[in-house]
Amino acid sequence: MEMLAALEGNFIPFAAGLAGLGGAIGVGLAGAKGAEAVGRNPGAFGKIFTTTLIAMALAEGIAILGFFVLPGLLKGSM
């Protein structure tokens, strides 16, 4: 209850953590599946690497955008 009270009206740092978490899960999933795919078919390393890297970058992009948007919101709320 006290924690909720402390958080009241200022969920923005929490949201920053969530943005980072989402990006981390996305990058982790892409990396895990990429490693699995290379294990199954080592010959296709080049194509798998490119695809994995694109997926990682797109997942990471959301977290990075959050990193730029959230400080602005934080400044506005205080």
Partner: protein, 290 residues
């Protein structure tokens, strides 16, 4: 190809100056004044002025990096031999590797157009990222401001590069498809359907096309912010770790990570550019037919 590569580098250099002028016109950029000793400012700090043009620390370092690239290429191409060794070998390996990667993802015609720009992006970004990790960058100060700052840790540079990419990719898409073909490529009904089914699908694909346009427009923003965020974030972490720990020992693992990030982010920028060009300049309908 050599000439067009020069044009690409020139375009890049030209684009660097434009945002600096825009920043000056905006009258902003005074956040740098109240920075504490142990943090990197989000914006590049203005060092001095040449006429109306403010010169920031990242611009100074950009010139040094351009000089390094220029000298390296000169040294590699001075005495060229059939059996490459040393610098020539390195440059040939880099250019051929990039060409193989580009050719693996695009059609030969499009590769010929976009390879110089994409390869320039990669080489410039990777050299500036790695040179940003050298000792002295950020720690040599003048009037309390660091005189060197890796250009990729300055949003002006990354936005300029993404802008160049956006204009160039739009131009190539129009050149490849034609204006009507591009509109058909984005809004057209895909999947090879014929008959009355096309009429309701037409409206759905108009809606999908609008989403597609939005995603095309957000690409350069995400591209620029991803590179800037990663390098600036890495720089901040390194500065923090160097100043808050005894002997800065905690920075050691992060230096290894930053070495990795420096190469991976240059590759990501390049691969995403190629992939985005590939989505605009391809005949995916014909491939789906058979």
């Amino acid at each position: 190809m050599f000439v067009s590569r020069f044009i690409a580098i020139g375009l890049l250099f030209f684009a660097l100056a434009v945002p600096a002028l825009a920043k000056e016109a905006g009258g902003g950029g005074h956040e740098g004044d109240d920075h504490e000793g142990h943090s990197v400012t989000p914006n590049a700090v203005e060092l001095f002025k040449i006429g109306p043009l403010p010169v920031t620390n990242s611009m100074v370092y950009t010139w040094i990096i351009m000089g390094v690239i220029f000298l390296a290429v000169r040294a590699g191409t001075k005495r060229m031999s059939d059996k490459p060794s040393g610098m020539q070998n390195l440059i040939e390996a880099a250019v051929e590797g990039l060409e193989d990667m580009t050719a693996g993802m695009l059609e030969p015609k499009v590769v010929r157009w976009c390879f110089p720009l994409v390869a320039t992006f990669f080489l410039f970004i990777v050299v500036s990222n790695l040179m940003g990790l050298l000792p002295g960058v950020g720690s040599i100060t003048y009037n309390g401001h660091p005189i060197f700052r890796p250009p990729t840790a300055d949003a002006n540079t990354t936005i300029a590069m993404a802008g160049v990419f956006f204009i160039a990719s739009t131009w190539w898409a129009v050149k490849y498809n034609g204006v009507g073909g591009l509109i058909k490529h984005i809004f057209g009904v895909k999947g090879g359907m014929t008959g009355l089914v096309v009429i309701p699908l037409f409206f759905i694909f108009i809606f999908i096309g609008l989403i597609e346009v939005m995603s095309i427009l957000i690409r350069p923003v995400a591209l620029a912010m991803r590179l800037y965020g990663n390098i600036y974030g890495g720089e901040s972490v390194l500065t923090l770790m160097l100043h808050t720990q005894p002997f800065g020992l905690a920075a050691l693992p992060f230096y290894f990570m930053e070495l990795l990030v420096a190469c991976v982010q240059a590759l990501v920028f390049t691969i995403l550019c190629i992939a985005f060009i590939g989505t605009l300049c391809s005949h995916n309908e014909e491939e789906g037919a058979h």
